[in-house]
Point group: C2
């Protein structure tokens, strides 16, 4: 596609660098911005650059934050001895949205993946080990992807922590709520039979 | 969704103002930009603001342009007496991409739509009438949407130009290439029977 203006073609180029945005979508976004006032577009572009330039990462958990320590790590009502290990900020958001977790987090920044050249040294593992030592962490909840790389990372961490007085747990794997049995894959189904639990009615709140 | 940082939440807000981008997609874009260097994000945000601020519209055809007159209007190899009337820049691009049109354009900026409060005075109609007078335009090709509003606009223009020595044509309507007859709507099919043409083999190039 040839654009009537270099300015348009540059802007389309920049938008289509983003994931999931092709040339046609990029053009639609550009045409939308052309209809807005220059002031609105200035706010748009400033907000995005400011976000990248001023963003900070929490010294303790490596989650994004506005200051040196994030709100979760600073909170006095949260259990600082219970640490949930996740890959990235999106996982923190997902767990926070359940409103059922009252511990803190540690963002690894990825998982060990020899194929992509990501070794343990490229992840926030040293700081996790130090944190466990210093803060007297009692439980480490591994909430990593159920993939080969995720499992490798959990295995690596469990080896590193074998001598430490910290319990390592992982998220329960099984049939999802609302999932129909016939569509569940064999591995998940087999494991959820093997790890079956006594019946509990989750709908009735216990005290 | 509550974000761990005001910067992130502002950026997500700005992205989700764009058409077709919801909160989840916006977050994905923001997380992608967070992984880029600040310099790359500066280029992204600058390009977009520059586009909006510096964009010009061609004095003659109202298409976007880098200077006061667009390349198409300035071209000496194009037929300046044949004007294709379109709604917006995207339609110009679509027709240009066919590489089968050698005339020039006139961007109306929309179609007459009383429901949305768009009257003839909000469109680039006065300049079109002046242009027809001044440049001695011989043919006006109406390439507007086949909707009530598009048809109203064509009707309005044809009335305005009834006394002028200019031929008004519209794009051929009919069964699209590759379209199966059974899926064509009745109006299109009925009209394409009524406006049938002598057989021509388009695949054999004539001189």
């Amino acid at each position: 596609m040839e654009f009537p203006s270099k300015l348009i073609s540059n802007a389309v180029e920049e938008f289509s660098r983003l994931p999931g945005i092709g040339k046609k979508t990029a053009l639609r976004l550009v045409l939308h911005l052309l209809k807005e006032t220059p002031e609105d577009v200035r706010i748009f572009s400033d907000t995005i650059y400011k976000m990248r330039k001023q963003i900070k990462y929490c010294k303790q958990c490596h989650n994004v934050a506005d200051s040196d320590t994030c709100n979760i790590c600073e909170s006095r009502t949260r259990n600082q001895q219970q640490v949930c290990v996740v890959e990235n900020m999106r996982d923190v958001l997902a767990i926070e949205n359940t409103q059922h977790y009252n511990g803190v987090f540690h963002v690894l920044g990825g998982v060990i993946s020899p194929l992509e050249g990501i070794g343990p040294d490229k992840l926030n593992i040293t700081s996790l080990l130090e944190r466990i030592e210093k803060k007297g962490v009692t439980e480490l909840i591994m909430a990593l992807s159920p993939t080969m790389e995720g499992d490798t990372t959990v295995f690596y961490l469990s080896k590193k922590l074998a001598e430490k007085p910290v319990t390592i747990t992982t998220l329960a794997r099984g049939v999802a709520f609302g999932g129909e049995l016939q569509y569940v894959d064999e591995v998940t189904l087999a494991r959820s039979i093997a790890t079956r639990r006594p019946y509990e009615n989750y709908l009735v709140k216990k005290d």
